[in-house]
Symmetry: C2
Subunit: 414 residues, 2 copies
Amino acid sequence: MALIVQKFGGTSVGSIEKIQAVAKRVIEKHLEGNRMIVVLSAMAGETDRLIGMAHAIQRVPDLREQDMLVSSGEQVSVALFAMAVKAAGHKAVSLLGDQVGIHTDQKHTCARITSIDAERINAYLDQGNIVTVAGFQGVTDYGDITTLGRGGSDTTAVALAAALQADACEIFTDVEGVFTTDPGVYNKARKIDYISYDEMLELASLGAKVLDIRAVSMAKRFKVPVHVRSTFTNTTGTWVVDEEKIMESLLVSGITYSKKEARITIKKVPDQPGIAAKIFLPISDAGIMVDMIIQNTHDGGLTDMTFTVLRSDYDRAMEILGKVAQDIRAEEVTGDQEIVKVSIVGVGMRNHSGIASTMFQIMSKEGINIMMISTSEIKVSVVIAEKYTELAVRALHDAFALDKDNLPLEVDVD
Amino acid sequence: MALIVQKFGGTSVGSIEKIQAVAKRVIEKHLEGNRMIVVLSAMAGETDRLIGMAHAIQRVPDLREQDMLVSSGEQVSVALFAMAVKAAGHKAVSLLGDQVGIHTDQKHTCARITSIDAERINAYLDQGNIVTVAGFQGVTDYGDITTLGRGGSDTTAVALAAALQADACEIFTDVEGVFTTDPGVYNKARKIDYISYDEMLELASLGAKVLDIRAVSMAKRFKVPVHVRSTFTNTTGTWVVDEEKIMESLLVSGITYSKKEARITIKKVPDQPGIAAKIFLPISDAGIMVDMIIQNTHDGGLTDMTFTVLRSDYDRAMEILGKVAQDIRAEEVTGDQEIVKVSIVGVGMRNHSGIASTMFQIMSKEGINIMMISTSEIKVSVVIAEKYTELAVRALHDAFALDKDNLPLEVDVD
């Protein structure tokens, strides 16, 4: 008898009919002899509707009250779902974050789970219930409702799976699983059967939306096997598992891209100690996240500082940096919003040198100028002009033979 | 510095604009130096929308899950309201039933409050917050959410006022207060300035919708002064207070009517011990409430048994009684749905005899046949044909001079 946590997102429970369909699916798994925990998001559109009302009342809604408000969405889903299971003649019970005992810190709207009580859920499971848990929410030690931020229901599911030592955590979504790249960009994109936590982490942080990054991080820490699959089919999706469980690692598992960033350069900065702090402190004080940072040496004790920020922060960052540039006597600040970050990810890189240079060769062959480069143990990212997105993705996908199941011995760059 | 509990119903918080208007009103009272607790219902239509979804999923929704579902409605109201207060520059915090510590028994959808914790609310009040509490909901010892039934927000407000020893509990509604009778039936109806708990109890149980009967009952027990008033004006409404506080009691304070009932007669029942139980047990087993019961002696050891049930239970009651009549060898079962129960209420009746006979005289003068009579210490109810409703109400209102502020020494029946 396995213990399975299944998480269904807002689209999957977006109507009465969809809730009933999900209930049917869960009951089937229950009847196979499994102990079932179901984590649900709010019905599609509900969270946005509630936040819309909040903004109509308060320009910047109070965070504690916003959590109080939006957590009602999951409450509705779980109650209706439990009714659907009962209507079909099976036992079910719904639980909110505070009823489960999903304890968090006090950071409203982006709280972190600190601990989970297993007792009450286990008691309900022992009684034969399908236990339905409101995703996305927790409770502080003081009894205030918190939410875990967008994608928080994934985190709830993985955290429950970890706390209850579930055999699997299945994340149901509107795609078939994790793909080698965006199928919308390249039709040769292939569903990946197994991917390691580390690779999934990189993919998630680089823009793949299929799984929340904190959920992956937690899955890795507690070695929770996560199955990303489609709500609308029965086919196997992608298993996100421990690296050791994957027989043979591909050099490159996936290619991802992000158009959310913009590039900013401060030109001819006096190259003195403490200059980086002078530039980046005002930026971080304004709550702006900086991603890649590159410093090029220049002649005559001057340097160019280039970095990326989210496009949504671009205008604010440019304004702040205009002042900073004057203070530190830099020459000028330039920016470019029409860029894309294309990344290749694969644990195979750990044991194979030359992956990065292969990537650069392919870019060169296609006549694509690389503006910035950033590498980690298992990924290489390049920033290029946005207009080359599709061209770069397809060329890399072909070169690393991602449309083929087997590991290519040689990478074809000709 | 007074402590005031104010309760606003669903219509009063039915839109963003209305929530803002209520917030403005509460803030004004707060700025006068009062400690404010605000109890809110769900936004108008929300509870019905949620229950509609529940019924679309489960013909008879699971009661625990229904409470989980509908309690989300008040959660939304209180969060939005707290935001509205904060947006206006004042301190506010919202609390759910379980966060306050409104403990109830486990009777889902019609739970009774067993105790209330005052600590957390007092702490928030001490910090200068306008404390907003979700009405209608509580929590069991096991942590399950319960609701108090329709009108439950009134009960929440009065219970909080009692637990925190508030100076007043103000119930805001869409009418100006309690009237001598339905102004829609008689335009001479007058707003009552002061009414006793007992009179209000009778009026509420006899069909006046302005205040929930359990709320009145609790107000009486804990001597909470309740002020029923309009959300849309600033005029004083009706104070529901201890009888001793009312200088001079009217003979009759109000006239009310209910069209919700139906009359059933079982004819020629063998008049034997235990026969009443044989008739009413199957009825109560079916969850049907019986209101008035009259037994007329007949000739030859036979009796007629007449009683009233809710019209919504009429068909079921008739079906059950058809079988019962056969079993006990009664002659036949007849019924009438076109009846009305008209009642006069007033604590003055305690000290004045003859009020009932005056009422009968007036009915007789108008040519209205009385089918049933029921009396209590402070009320007289008669069941008459529905078509005479307006005629009876107007005649009684005139006869007892309810349009005049002063107590008439003589009742005019001519």
